[in-house]
């Protein structure tokens, strides 16, 4: 490997202004990836504070911590922030950083489009948060959107939403949506056109495969959302009547537009999470991924079926029994490829030698939690069961199990796994384990017990409830869990900061891993590879480390 790694030039100190300018005008995929990730981390903290306010308000019945108006803004901003300005950018950040390195190329296909997309997304987030100042408009109406993250019509019509809070919501999502479309095109073209010699589609790391499918899904899913946002703006500014029910518009039309985006969006977020697990589990089990072609097929199947399940969010809007049955079966069917993935990860661990480093701990917790999230998903897919559970706290618990228990846990795994590559330093393993256990306890306190009030009839998005309905104790436990999660998150941030300055030097390949990013220096220099690598199998570094027993003989 010596031939391919680059010795870092001696560090040249430069004024802080120059460094900032470099970051501001950069088109380097690694710097943009890190910008995406840092930007998302800031919003993670903001969205977390909003969630905490919501949970403190619900801790006890008849609480007066915040007013209903403030509560409604908090859950709206929490949901919107976490989906559009945390999950999407953080996953794009990792994709940006990792894909060129893993497919052995020097940058994304369109570096300037990459920078443009990032700054659009960043501007979208600022627009949304500007509503806290500018949302009042001239009406003296409330600031910050309070229409819920899926903003059902006609609550967003000018009749029910005075001022400009909804406009900032619409424009923020519209602008960041263009950023997402740009990045999706970039990822798609990079993976299809810039793979290094020898890397056929069938020899590509699974991370690249899953991001490829994600990129296609982003293109197909963000477009209807963008269209809907434009239609809503036309309604609000030019008196169109797409969703304005008082003038004959259709509330159900908005639901279809939103969920044909909204459900594929779940897979847009979860496929990159699967991608992290598919890279990390093999390395810490010391075995190649079990059933690579089946994993690819399952990913494509999820991408495909993922577009035919959206109306399971609408089982209660009065669709006829045939439509309800159709969306029941498609939703259940998507459990099959997802189940195949879980079995393949178990197959990967089977017969291995599992090392319980922090990234692997987060991946194992993910496996358990995603199993439960999938099973509650099956319960919700049975339309009559959903007539009871839909829009209750059971649903809130279910999708937090997916997004926190599934996606955030693998994201933490990814942070610890690639931190040495990105920073050149090892993280602190002890702090990493503290983070894991604290977050695990907090997660289960909050989201396990959140299922129960849903089963007992507690609807979501209520700012208060009366005592004596059997919900009190469960809500209290949920809120206690939040404080564990806060402490864990602070440990995580502290670990990143401490390790960045004080961590041990990581070296090129601290995990004895097999994909190309570990063949270059940590952090990689600009343009990644002095010489473009040539690969023969899915585990090029294995082939180099074990010339007597290379993978390409067997694959």
């Amino acid at each position: 490997m010596a031939a391919r790694s680059i010795t870092l030039p001696a560090e040249v100190s430069q004024p802080i202004g120059t460094t900032l300018h470099d970051w501001f005008v950069t088109v380097d995929h690694k710097k943009l990836g890190i910008l995406y990730i840092l930007y998302a981390l800031v919003f993670l903290l903001i969205g977390g504070i909003e969630a905490t306010i919501v949970r403190v308000q619900l801790m006890v019945p008849n609480n007066h911590f915040v007013s209903p108006q403030v509560f409604n803004r908090m859950f709206t901003m929490h949901g919107t922030t976490m989906i559009f300005f945390v999950a999407m950018p953080i996953l794009f950040g990792f994709a940006n950083y990792l894909i060129p390195l893993m497919i052995g190329t020097r940058d994304m296909a369109f570096p300037r489009l990459n920078a443009w997309s990032f700054w659009l997304t960043a501007f979208g987030g600022l627009l949304l948060y500007f509503s806290f100042i500018g949302g009042n408009g001239l009406y003296g109406a409330g600031n910050a959107p309070d229409v819920g993250w899926f903003a059902y019509a006609p609550l967003t019509a000018t009749t029910f939403s005075l001022g400009h809070s909804t406009d900032f919501w619409t424009l923020g999502l519209l602008v960041s949506g263009f950023g997402s479309i740009g990045t999706a095109i970039n990822i798609l073209v990079t993976i299809l056109c810039l793979r290094c010699p020898g890397m056929t589609l069938g020899k590509m790391p699974l991370l690249a495969w899953m991001n490829l499918v994600t990129a296609v899904m982003v293109l197909l899913a963000i477009s209807p959302l963008t269209a809907a946002q434009i239609m809503l703006s036309l309604d609000r500014f030019l008196g169109a009547h797409f969703f304005d029910t008082q003038a004959g518009g259709s509330a159900v039309l908005w639901m279809h537009f939103f969920w044909i985006f909204g459900h594929p969006e779940v897979y847009v977020l979860v496929l990159p999470a699967f991608a992290f697990a598919s890279e990390i589990i093999p390395v810490f089990s010391r075995k190649p991924i079990f059933g690579y072609p089946v994993m690819v097929a399952a990913t494509i199947a999820i991408g495909f079926v993922g577009f035919s399940v959206w109306a399971h969010h609408m089982f209660t809007v009065g669709m006829n029994s045939y439509a309800n049955s159709f969306f029941t079966i498609t939703t259940m069917v998507i459990g099959i490829p997802t189940g195949i993935k879980i079995f393949n990860w178990i197959g990967t661990m089977w017969g291995g030698k599992i090392a319980f480093k922090t990234p692997m701990l987060f991946c194992i917790a993910f496996l358990f939690q995603f199993l439960i999230a999938g099973l509650t998903g099956i319960m919700l897919s049975a339309a009559p069961f959903d007539w009871q559970l839909g829009n209750s706290y059971f649903v809130v618990a279910h999708f937090h199990y997916v997004i926190v228990g599934g996606i955030l846990f693998t994201l933490f795994a990814a942070f610890y796994y690639w931190f040495p590559k990105m920073s050149g330093r090892m993280y602190n393993e002890a702090l990493g384990k503290w983070h894991f256990w604290l977050f695990l306890i907090g997660f289960h306190l909050t989201f396990d017990f959140m299922h129960i009030p849903g089963l007992l009839g507690m609807p979501r998005r209520i700012y208060t409830y009366e005592a004596g309905r059997g919900w009190d104790i469960w809500n209290l436990i949920c809120t206690i869990g939040v404080f564990f999660q806060i402490v864990a998150t602070l440990v995580f941030i502290g670990n990143l900061l401490w390790s960045y300055f004080n961590g041990k030097a990581a070296g090129n390949d601290p995990w004895d891993a097999w994909t190309l990013e570990w063949s270059t220096s940590s952090p990689p220099t600009e343009y990644n590879f002095a010489q473009i690598p040539i690969v023969k199998s899915r585990r090029p570094l294995w082939d180099i480390k074990h010339p007597e027993d290379p993978d390409w003989k067997y694959e």
Binding site: A382, G457, Y463
Partner: protein
């Protein structure tokens, strides 16, 4: 409801109340079993205690789905635990890489086909219940109700019985041998709402410009609680819903009482005059008088209801007076304006309303 009565105070005491409530919640946690006995379980909107065919068939399906998913959980959970424990790296590891296994078509086929069969079984069981509930026939004795969702209350109209009421729906219990189910047509006057009484039926949305339907056939009498289950604006939380299931005789009596015009009492002419000459009648109706507003609940038989403000407070003199004086004290963000009456007029209107039995 002592909470409600001092809610118009400044915000200061609320902060204190908040800390006190944390501590009290801590104490409640300690005495939960004793506290649990104080609650009336029939008042809990618990889907696992169905009281109608509709809710019962949902529960049967739900139990079936729960059993299947529990079995899947046990199998996969055990596999996961086994592989983590069995294949962990041992302390005496020899440092050799384990044998690489790239996959197995037979195994992949097995864990594709078996889940596929499970999905088929689940789907057919589900489809049967969907069609049974959505395709239910309408027997001769069925009661027709139109439910209209408003921000943030429920309007109930019985077109064939000449009854209009709000927030508290009365339906007869249904004897399987002579079924008298209630068929509800769901409409909305403004935003989306959702009608949900977990013990009687799954939820169905009320959507503007759309007509939805649902039905329930309660098999026991009593009060069944629920609430709006689709976020509809500021006071979504206090858009509560109460269904009173009466015996057929009680129901007949209730209908007779409700179908009459408003009760006229002597000695409340002053209150009635104020009611009819202020903005009250823009939104409220009292049958047989000049008050014909439709934006707010019909008050013809206000005192026959147990609660006001869509279940947000018990219907008593104090709350009624407070509600007219300052609705935000009970339900901040509700669309009822503070009427700004002087104390004398306030008392007079309250007294008048209390005669509307």
């Amino acid at each position: 409801m002592p909470e409600i009565l001092h809610k118009s105070d400044s915000r200061g005491p609320h902060r204190k109340a908040w800390w006190v409530s944390i501590m009290m919640a801590g104490c409640l946690l300690a005495v939960q079993p004793a506290f649990g006995n104080l609650q009336d379980p029939s008042q809990m909107p618990n889907m696992f205690r169905p009281a109608s065919t509709h809710a019962d068939s949902i529960l049967h399906l739900s139990i079936f789905v729960l059993i299947i998913t529990a079995l899947i959980f046990v199998v996969v959970f055990s596999l996961l635990v086994y592989s983590i424990v069995k294949f962990r790296k041992r302390a005496d590891d020899d440092g050799r890489e384990p044998a690489p296994v790239y996959g197995s078509n037979q195994v992949e086929l097995a864990w594709t086909v078996i889940p596929g069969l499970i999905v088929l079984v689940l789907f057919f069981a589900t489809a049967r219940v969907i069609h049974a509930i959505q395709g239910a026939g309408r027997p001769a004795g069925a009661i027709e109700v139109i439910a209209i969702g408003h921000q943030f209350w429920w309007e109930f109209r019985y077109p064939s019985l000449g009854v209009v009421t709000a927030n508290e729906l009365h339906v007869p219990s249904s004897d399987p041998s002579h079924p008298t189910p209630t068929f509800i047509t769901l409409l909305s006057a403004d935003t989306d709402h959702s009608f949900w009484i977990p013990r009687l039926a799954g939820k169905t949305d009320l959507i503007p410009n759309r007509v939805n339907h649902m039905w329930l056939d309660p098999n026991e009498t009593g009060i069944f609680l629920g609430q709006c289950a689709q976020y509809c604006g500021t006071q979504h939380a206090k858009m509560l819903l109460r269904v009173y299931v009466d015996s057929p005789d009680q129901f007949k009596q209730w209908v007779q009482g409700q179908a009459k015009p408003a009760h006229v009492s002597d000695g409340v002419n002053e209150g009635r005059r104020i009611f009819e000459t202020t903005a009250c009648i823009n939104c409220h109706a009292v049958s047989g008088t000049v008050a014909v507003g439709r934006f707010g609940p019909d008050l013809t038989h206000l005192m026959s209801r147990d609660t006001i403000a869509s279940g947000a407070a018990p219907n008593n003199t104090e709350n009624l007076r407070l509600w007219i004086q300052d609705p935000d004290a009970i339900k901040p963000g509700s669309l009822m304006p503070a009427m700004k009456l002087n104390e004398r007029d306030l008392d007079a209107v309250t007294t008048y309303l209390e005669t509307l039995r």
